[in-house]
Amino acid sequence: MKRQGIAEALREAIAEEMQRDARVFCIGEDIGVPGGWGGAFTVTLGLEKLFPDRIINTPIAELGFFGVATGAAMMGMRPIADVQYGDFLFLASDQIINNAAKLRYMSGGQIKVPLVMRAPVGATGRGSQHAQNMERTFTGVPGLKVVAPSNAYDAKGLLKAAVRDDNPVMIFEHKLLYGSKGARAEPGAVDATSEIPDADYVVPLDRAAVRREGGRATILAWLLMAHFAMQAAQRLAEEGIEAEVIDVRSLAPLDWATLGASAAKTGRVLIVEEGPRTGGVGAEIAAGLVERLPGLRIARLASPDIPVPFTPELENAYRPDATRIAAAVRRLLAGEPGACR
């Protein structure tokens, strides 16, 4: 056992998978540069020393290298492609959505695309174009699996499961949760370290995790919001309100069994999402839950339908926080109608 942050745990997971399987390689921007950063958030730092031929640094060409990664995956390699910021996935979307996700189906099952994609998301003082939560854009894409780890244990286990899966898997990582060190440390970072076992393990790609049990209401959240939901639940507990907190973690497919069991138990669900409300993952979760459990009371707490602002006052107002999550649970329990933020 050792205590690690997400960046370290991912680095170790990648190294172990590359050691285990010679078909695994990394491809992305600003990786494998001696004296460089190891990707935007240090995840691949130093791996080029261990695997000089399998850390492939690319030109600034997201469409191109996601296509390259897809082509290599089709031919039997197991690439891990990463973007520096999730926002850049829009550049790569044609290759991800039209090729990586569809080639198996449109070939009648001839092709496998064992491709892992990693993308940092979240508002972190970088204005509108290095900040979006991209989960909503990729959860509805047939042929893709999407996960979003909130702690180091999950990050390592999900990455390993993704590498070993024969399908394209998108992993969203949150910039405030990496625990990146040195010059790449993030102001306002949240502790997402975990005790990491020495033995090999995987975390299934299709399971949510119950983080805190409670009977009055269910809070569904992922990434940074899972941490804020836990803080809110702690405050609510001090008021005598026991809320269950579920880290949704697997966004495609959604773990309806775990989400539904909690919703059935509490009858009241708050879905918390960093990112605009309209068309968010929360909308899909809400619809899926009421289809399964008519009569459920559901509310969403999300960011407003605006681009991510820069100035700290507005960025803090943009993103849901523990105070607003707790308030939203109180409103839900009081039977106050309407979406809330």
Binding site: F25, D53, R54, I56, T58, P59, A61, L63, G64, F65, F66, G67, V68, A69, T70, G71, A72, A73, M74, M75, G76, M77, D94, Q95, N98, N99, L103, R104, Y105, M106, S107, G108, G109, Q110, I111, K112, P114, P142, G143, K145, K160, A161, R164, D165, D166, N167, V202
Partner: protein, 326 residues
């Protein structure tokens, strides 16, 4: 290097080009009579590009193609039957009826299902070549695309990455002068597409794409360079599309004089003339070859029309590869 005075080899090229032409003409008829579903993008007049390039490849080399891929498929060794079954949407089609005309392919024969997003196959081909490099394989990829793809970002990004990593890709641009209805001079200041290669630091060549022997010779040189680790290579194959862009396009934007000029250098007639001159075949021999091909096509159509149809149970199959024990 294959000797082009080898008549048997050249007759094989002729036979493949006629097979593609008759396939396309037959499929056109099936569409017009209304028995075939979907849409089609045909390649009558461009047969020499597919046949010439694919003849320079090994069976285990790969190609990527576009929405206009029937010719490449036949040239790379897919059977008429598996193509017709796919076009009719039968479960016995090369993609079980889930791909259709724009996505024909068979990985076991070295053809990725057609990538119907313009330029979308270019980075993919570079990645396939990267895999071959990492696997220490001598396989190469021939990546077919049209003149329209040259304006896409994927062209720039894919060619640049193939260049910096010296990947074994033959970029085979079929320049048929039109991207859908738009003539290249409206969208390119420099219409000499092979010039682009120099910008990335590798070799480019413009070839008479209606001369199958010239295409084959250029492709052989390009493939040899790629196998020697001196890739990639860009081949610009000048050719002309005799049909509309897709099934309902009357092609009114192609000037009559231009059509006439290109019709006079039909790739099949040109090779046939050379072979007749050489005494390798005569008019009766060509007619017999064509009749045999048409007969085989008609028999394949009859089987395709009776081929098994998918059921709703097939709808959700093949989205994901099966889970493997981690």
């Amino acid at each position: 290097m294959t000797r082009h005075d080898d008549s048997e080899f050249a007759l094989g090229l002729l036979e493949r080009m006629i097979r593609i032409r008759e396939f396309e003409e037959g499929v056109r008829f099936l569409f017009l009579e209304g028995s075939m579903p979907g849409t089609i993008h045909q390649c009558q007049g461009q047969e020499a590009t597919a046949v010439g390039v694919c003849a320079a490849l090994r069976p285990d080399d790969f190609i990527t193609a576009t929405f206009r891929g029937h010719g490449q498929a036949l040239a790379k060794g897919l059977s008429e039957q598996q193509l017709l079954d796919e076009l009719f949407g039968a479960t016995t089609g090369c993609c079980k009826g889930k791909g259709g005309s724009m996505h024909v392919g068979d990985m076991s024969k070295g053809m990725v299902p057609g990538i119907a997003i313009v330029g979308g196959g270019i980075p993919l081909a570079a990645g396939m070549a990267l895999a071959f490099r990492m696997q220490k394989s001598s396989q190469v990829v021939a990546c077919f695309f049209g003149d329209g793809a040259v304006a896409e970002g994927a062209f720039h990004e894919g060619l640049n990455m193939a260049a910096i990593w010296r990947l074994p890709v033959v970029f085979a641009c079929e320049n048929n002068l039109y991207g859908a209805s738009t003539r290249i001079d409206l969208v390119m200041r420099n219409p000499r597409i092979s010039d682009r290669a120099a910008a990335y630091g590798f070799a480019g060549e413009t070839v008479d794409g209606n001369d199958v022997l010239a295409v084959h010779a250029a492709a052989q040189r390009a493939v040899a360079k790629c196998r020697a680790g001196e890739g990639p290579v860009l081949l610009e194959l000048l050719t002309y599309r005799r049909t509309g862009h897709s099934r309902r396009d009357p092609c009114a934007y192609q000037p009559a004089a231009e059509r006439k000029e290109w019709a006079a250098c039909d790739p099949i007639e040109r090779l046939a003339a050379r072979l007749k001159e050489r005494g390798a075949i005569d008019e009766a021999g060509i007619a017999a070859m064509r009749a045999r091909i048409v007969q085989q096509f008609e028999a394949a159509v009859a089987r395709a029309k009776a081929a098994p149809r998918p059921t709703p149970q097939d709808l959700e199959a093949d989205v994901f590869a099966p889970a493997v024990a981690p």
